[in-house]
């Protein structure tokens, strides 16, 4: 599966990349929201994983850009330090498909990603 990751923290980026590649996915990294949106056309990801608090464009804007471009496909998983109700609700309203809060477990992420893979395979 082709996964686009948008995350500004260096360590997080490296660890997400390592983990997802180990699970056999194709991974493209972007370090801010604008870069992520820019890479949508070129990379055509099957899944987007994004942080919320990022430079230039917030993760919520990334969600809305992805959903505008691919109204049916391309699920988005949000991975954010912000866990409060209103942000989570807003994310889902904008079309996010899953929401994980930091600190997060890499194993859990890996399982959640696989779930989207299965739904695509059907």
């Amino acid at each position: 599966m082709k996964i686009l990751v948008a995350e500004d923290d260096q360590l997080m980026v490296k660890m997400l990349e390592f983990r997802l590649k180990k699970d056999g996915h194709d991974v493209v990294i972007s370090h801010d929201g604008r870069e992520a949106v820019g890479k949508l056309d070129e990379f055509k990801p099957d899944l987007v994983i994004t942080d919320i608090m990022m430079p230039y464009l917030s993760g919520l804007e990334v969600v809305s850009a992805v959903k505008k471009k691919y109204p049916k496909g391309t699920p988005v998983i949000i991975l954010s330090g912000m866990g409060q109700e209103n942000v989570v609700l807003e994310a889902f309203q904008l079309g996010a498909d899953d929401y994980m809060t930091k600190p997060f477990s890499p194993n859990e992420l890996s399982v959640r990603v696989r779930r989207f893979d299965l739904t695509l395979a059907k």
Binding site: L11, K14, M15, R19, G83, P103, F104, N107
Partner: protein, 367 residues
């Protein structure tokens, strides 16, 4: 003319002695500062190379520990990663590694996080931190508590009682957070005895820490009576966040508290915890309050207002404060299904023009 000149020169000589010394002192000081700065920069540049090296080593350690949670973190692992370098004893390396482990730990949970804790212990960073708990400088004490709390080192708990009444606010704050982190809601028992005020910042932090725990049906009412009004404020916030409906009457009683901050918090708390009688409590208190609190009350009425409050709210559309008028109109519109109709009816018959307010409310409700 000449006499003035000689006089000038003689006075010049007297000045010169004091002044030249002063001038010299300034110049010497200037040179000292400059050379100190240059020296500092040079030393720092010298360190830079080593620092990058240490940083890369510590990165490798953390990446390995975090990326592959099947990795066993032991001396073998360190030797494989660092080679023969004995960095364990290196003060600077320890500092860098600690910082990086802490920041990684804040982002990661699960097996990978356990690996981080193993790594932390393996480098005996916990020992250094525990030793620092008794440091004379407050920020080193506070930092040590913070570090041990983040790394979930339970040995810290035995030491915590020492810091609850530490003279430094930041040490106290870290100790309180640690108590909550380790003991959950029971850790809040420090509220029974704390004499110092708890800042808003600390309250936010404690609530944040508690929000990671399974909700509790803690009884916060005893703290409403606390002599420390910041404890009462915090207890009200707890009641609101954990929906302690059975505490409603005690909360309503806080509307008469002598401290304005407690009263305001009680008003906000009633926004989540209310019964049919809540609006009567608010209305009964309304005229005694400042505009700021009145505005808060009206905003609460928007949530809990009913048919019965329409009259009270309609009256407020005459209020001298534009802000309050707008909020009252909004509360009215939300009060019941007839609220909007009442607002429009008032708008038509009243002498004052509130069409703009009505339009504003309609727009908000249509979004």
């Amino acid at each position: 003319m000449l006499t003035i000149k000689t006089h000038l020169y003689s006075s010049f000589i007297i000045y010169w002695d004091i002044q030249s010394i002063a001038l010299l002192a300034i110049v010497i000081l200037m040179v000292c500062l400059l050379s100190f700065m240059l020296l500092y920069l040079l030393v720092k540049a010298g360190h830079e190379k080593k620092h990058t090296y240490w940083r890369s080593k510590s990165d490798t350690l953390i990446h390995k520990a975090v990326f592959d949670d099947e990795e066993k973190i032991d001396d073998m692992f360190i030797e494989e990663t660092l080679g023969s370098d004995n960095l364990k004893k290196n003060r600077y390396f320890r500092k860098i590694l600690t910082e990086e482990i802490i920041s990684a730990k804040k982002n990661i949970s699960g097996a990978a996080a356990d690996n981080l804790i193993d790594l932390y212990r393996l480098f005996e960073l916990d020992k250094y931190a525990i030793r620092n708990l008794n440091h004379l400088k407050w920020y080193i004490r506070a930092k040590a508590i913070h570090e041990l709390t983040t790394m979930q080192i339970s040995e810290l708990v035995d030491h915590l009682h020492l810091f609850i009444n530490d003279p430094n606010e930041y040490v106290r704050m870290e100790a309180q957070s640690a108590l909550v982190q380790f003991n959950g809601f029971e850790g809040l028992s420090f509220l029974d005895t704390i004499a110092y005020p708890i800042s808003d910042w600390q309250q936010i932090k404690l609530l944040q820490l508690l929000s990671h725990l399974p909700p509790s049906s803690i009884d916060t009412t005893p703290w409403f009576e606390s002599k420390n009004s910041s404890v009462a404020v915090f207890a009200l916030k707890l009641a609101r966040n954990y929906n302690r409906f059975e505490q409603h009457d005690a909360i309503a009683k806080c509307l008469d508290h002598s401290d304005a901050k407690v009263r305001l918090e009680a008003i906000l708390c009633l926004n989540e915890i209310y019964t049919d009688e809540t609006s009567d409590h608010l209305i009964g208190r309304f005229l005694k309050e400042s505009l700021k609190h009145q505005l808060a009350m009206i905003r609460v009425m928007q949530t809990l207002g009913t048919e019965r409050d329409i009259l009270f709210l309609t009256d407020l559309l005459n209020h001298e404060s534009d802000q309050l008028k707008l909020d009252a109109a909004r509360a009215l519109a939300h009060a019941s299904n007839n609220g909007m109709a009442a607002l429009e009816a008032y708008s038509e018959q009243s002498e004052q023009d509130i069409t703009e307010i009505v339009m504003h409310i309609k727009r908000e409700m249509s979004v």
